[in-house]
Amino acid sequence: MMFIRYAAYRLLTMVLTLIVVSILIFIIINLPPGDYLSNQIAELRATGQAEGVAKAEFLRTEYALDRPLWEQYLIWVGVAPGPQGFSGLLQGDFGWSFEFDAPVADIVGDALWLTVLVNLAAVLFVYLVALPLGVLAAARSATWVDYTTAFVGYLGLATPNFLLALILFYYGHKYLGLPIGGLMAPEFEGEPMSLAKVQSVLVHLIVPTFVIGTSGAAAMMQRLRANMLDELSKPYVETGMAKGLAPAKLLTKYPLRMAFNPFVADIGNLLPAMVSGSVLVSVVLGLQTIGPALLTALKSQDQFLAAFVLMFVALLTLIGTMISDLLLVLLDPRIRYGAREG
């Protein structure tokens, strides 16, 4: 019961945060003077292309860019009528990309899911690698196990991602026959889902996952190790020893459970860091994620595309933090029953 109440409360704060974030995003994108179309009109005038100017002027009224900012915002969200009536985010209309001259939904379409896929794979990689290595490094602290994992970890942290990507592509292709670039073989693009397509995507995922996940895994591993070392010196570990517990059982039942909290709390931070951090990698690896699209949109003030991508990242972040908050409540009775204390 407590949990459902808490979940509802968290959901509510998440929606409120999302509204605030949307306002901020809209303001920030519109901070530089002018917009995509006014820039274009100025350029067309300078080169004397009158018919182009007429089209751009038409688009300006069509997408309400001639109205005050607050009105534009409300129309974009979909709570005020625009030139086409109520048609905004809430109605599922994400707007028009001027740069690509197509609806935003068409441009990001596949990329959205591929982004989620790549980043989920990377997060999974981070956790699967960091968990055992971090625990091992703490349990065998100040031995060769500890030093080796720390060395590999720092290598992962210090190597630039794009460099790692190029190296892995080269050797991966040379020795393992891994494909280079993209998230699927070209013949599957735009094709309906099939077993062969899934296979192709999975094979293509290997290198990107590794590249995007390495530094995150290294950082997470060091954090987990430090947490574990703190926990290992707590008196309840001695209590466990005095009970006669075997070392492995003792380690996993008590200190690991405690060290797990910050581990879980990181889920929320990991997602956005990876989405924005993987832009460069996506460009280098030629991944069809929304990272490159965001970069182009921001450069050319393609406001609806940029705003949508940023909203999407914000949503991912909020969902991530919500998941980690809910998990923490499930994992830690002190948070769950805190109110009963005292």
Partner: protein, 589 residues
């Protein structure tokens, strides 16, 4: 009878340094309690942990043997493989630790943690184990064993957690129980009850017990034989009545002399004069609103309710209470560090005949002046001094803040204060880590004195210190008070400490003062059941004066459980009534 456990010539050391436990011998038989007594650094904890081989990674067992068992089945615990020693831990020898707050995993239910012992050593199913555990819970005094089984440690008070620890140690019916300072972190009334419980359990099961403690009072109440340790060596050992009755070794005698005691035959004393009050707390209340998070309800906590205290100049007023009694809140309010509820009044007179200033309504500049005149000595000398500041910086900083003197006069003042607290002015350039606990407390007293205050608030200034050091600090505080004409508001949980230094004592319980009198009067004629319980619970280093558990349990419960005359519930406390000059008790007329 052959002993159950025999420690022979045990030596433990770190690295290549000389051993920290050297040539220790003792033995303990079934049904017997052996007390290992010593101050911090005596090696008593390492010694008891070596029995179960739970030692820091870097510690080396250099020499000796620990023979455990009865009849033919005697083995040297130090020779066992790590697998075999695990089958003894928690099964035949179990252990209780000092801090019940931190010795249980906060994320696992109590029942789960206790059951583990049985599933581990007795191959029991979870259901069978639960039956046994519930029975043990009932035995250690949980009113509702089922509820305790489901509870998490943070839902319990310290005493209850220690009972859970005891249940965990007892559930497998071990032959030997090692208790490492089991009651040091507990309130004195809780300590009395937990000690009583341990004694009962021992009588029931006939197990042997090794009790590690620094408190001679606890020894006198529990032990059959005593081993006194100092700096890794055994100073004296023998039957408890002999060692405690006529200590032979100089070190033991010194320990005895230092142990604070409630006077044996107190005489009623004169009440304090009511004129020239330096500090006055009138009808002070403090309510905290606890917010636990957006989706939880707020709670109100009454830390102080209607507290009236008067401190005459040059005297010491002690506020005594257990954790949660509101004594520290009182001290913070008296210093202006905490704003009391509306209607409270705190008056301070910097000098005789001066107009009182109201501390909770000071202007900014008056507040600065007040902060010079009233200073605080903190409980923990380890965390109240910055490890990155030299002694000189720490001592001159208050003067810099208040812009007093120049560099040279400040340094001279710091040197003078060091002499006052019995330290050498040469030490000005050292860092705090170069000082022992007692020396650090001297430093923090010196720091409080650099501004020439007239009022010193001492918040448990001796409770983090060893007994012999505690004695020195108390003497120092007395000397400074009389030498500099200071007045003390002295916060403590320890009646015996207070008995020595205070001119008047206010006993607090759950935010209210229940009894107030000069210490001698209080000990001669305690009226309130809670005061009586506190006095009865105080372990005395005298085998002839055991703790009176019945008296403790009469007064240590909640106010609703007190005898009719004193009983109240919630905030409906009766008034504080003067029953003889200078002696007030909270009771119904």
């Amino acid at each position: 009878m052959a002993p159950l456990l025999e420690v022979k010539n045990l030596s433990i050391g770190f690295g290549s340094a000389p051993p920290v436990v050297a040539g220790v011998n003792f033995s303990v038989a079934s049904g017997e309690t052996l007390a290992l007594v010593g101050e911090s650094g005596s090696g008593k904890t390492l010694t008891c942990r070596s029995v179960l081989r739970i030692l820091p990674k870097t510690a080396q067992l250099r020499q000796g043997s620990i023979i455990f068992g009865e009849g033919d089945a005697r083995t040297d615990l130090l020779d066992l493989s790590s697998y075999s020693i695990r089958s003894i831990r928690g099964n035949r020898i179990s252990m209780i630790f000092q801090e019940p707050m931190r010795s249980l995993s906060p994320l696992h239910r109590i029942g789960n943690q206790v059951c583990e012992v049985l599933t581990l050593h007795r191959n029991m199913s979870a259901a069978e184990a639960k039956q046994d555990v519930l029975a043990t819970f009932e035995r250690v005094g949980f009113a509702d064993p089922e509820r305790a089984f489901r509870a998490y440690p943070f839902e319990m008070s310290g005493g209850m957690r220690q009972r859970a620890m005891i249940a965990m140690a007892m559930v497998a019916k071990p032959d030997l129980l090692i208790a490492d300072e089991p009651t040091t972190a507990l309130d004195v009334t809780t300590q009395a009850q937990v000690l009583g419980l341990m004694k009962d359990l021992q009588r029931d099961t006939g197990m042997a017990m090794i009790l590690v403690t620094h408190d001679l009072g606890v020894v006198a109440n529990m032990a059959d034989s005593v081993v006194v340790m100092n700096k890794g060596h055994v100073m004296e050992s023998g039957p408890a009545p002999v060692v405690l009755g006529e200590p032979g070794h100089g070190y033991t005698q010194k320990l005895f002399a230092a142990a604070p005691m409630i006077p044996k035959d107190p005489k009623p004393s004169e009440p304090l004069p009511a004129e020239d009050l330096i500090l006055e707390l009138n009808n002070v209340c403090k309510t905290y609103t606890v917010r636990a998070g957006g989706w939880r309800e707020k709670k109100k906590v009454h830390a102080c309710v209607d507290v009236n205290l008067k401190l005459p100049r040059g005297k010491t007023l002690a506020v005594v209470g257990e954790s949660g009694s509101g004594k520290t809140t009182c001290a913070r309010i008296a210093l202006g560090a905490e704003v009391p509820d509306d209607g409270s009044e705190v008056l301070f007179r910097p000098e005789q005949g001066a107009d009182p200033v109201c501390i909770n309504a000071l202007s900014r500049s008056d507040k600065v002046a007040f902060q010079r005149q009233a200073q605080m000595v903190f409980q923990d000398p380890y965390s109240s001094l910055s490890p990155r500041m030299r002694v000189q910086e720490a001592l001159t900083e208050p003067m810099e803040i208040h812009r007093i003197g120049n560099r040279i006069s400040r340094r001279d003042k710091a040197a003078e204060m060091l002499r006052w607290v019995g330290l050498n002015p040469d030490m000005l350039m050292r860092y705090p880590h170069a000082f022992s606990g007692g020396q650090r407390q001297r430093l923090s007293i010196a720091r409080a004195l650099t501004l020439d205050p007239v009022l010193l608030v001492c918040d448990e200034p001796t409770s983090a210190l060893d007994v012999s050091v505690q004695e020195q600090i108390l003497s120092l505080l007395e000397r400074i008070r009389d030498g500099m004409g200071l007045s003390y508001l002295f916060i403590s949980h320890d009646l015996a400490v207070v008995a020595r230094i205070a001119d008047e004592v206010a006993v607090m319980r759950q935010g209210v003062v229940v009894e107030q009198a000069p210490p001698e009067t209080l000990f001669y004629n305690p009226r309130h059941p809670y005061t009586k319980a506190l006095i009865a619970a105080q372990p005395e280093p005298d085998v002839q004066r055991p703790i009176d558990l019945a008296e403790v349990s009469r007064g240590a419960g909640s106010p609703a459980s007190w005898p009719d005359m004193f009983r109240f519930e919630g905030l409906e406390a009766p008034d504080l009534i003067q029953i003889e000059p200078g002696h007030k008790v909270r009771c119904h007329v």
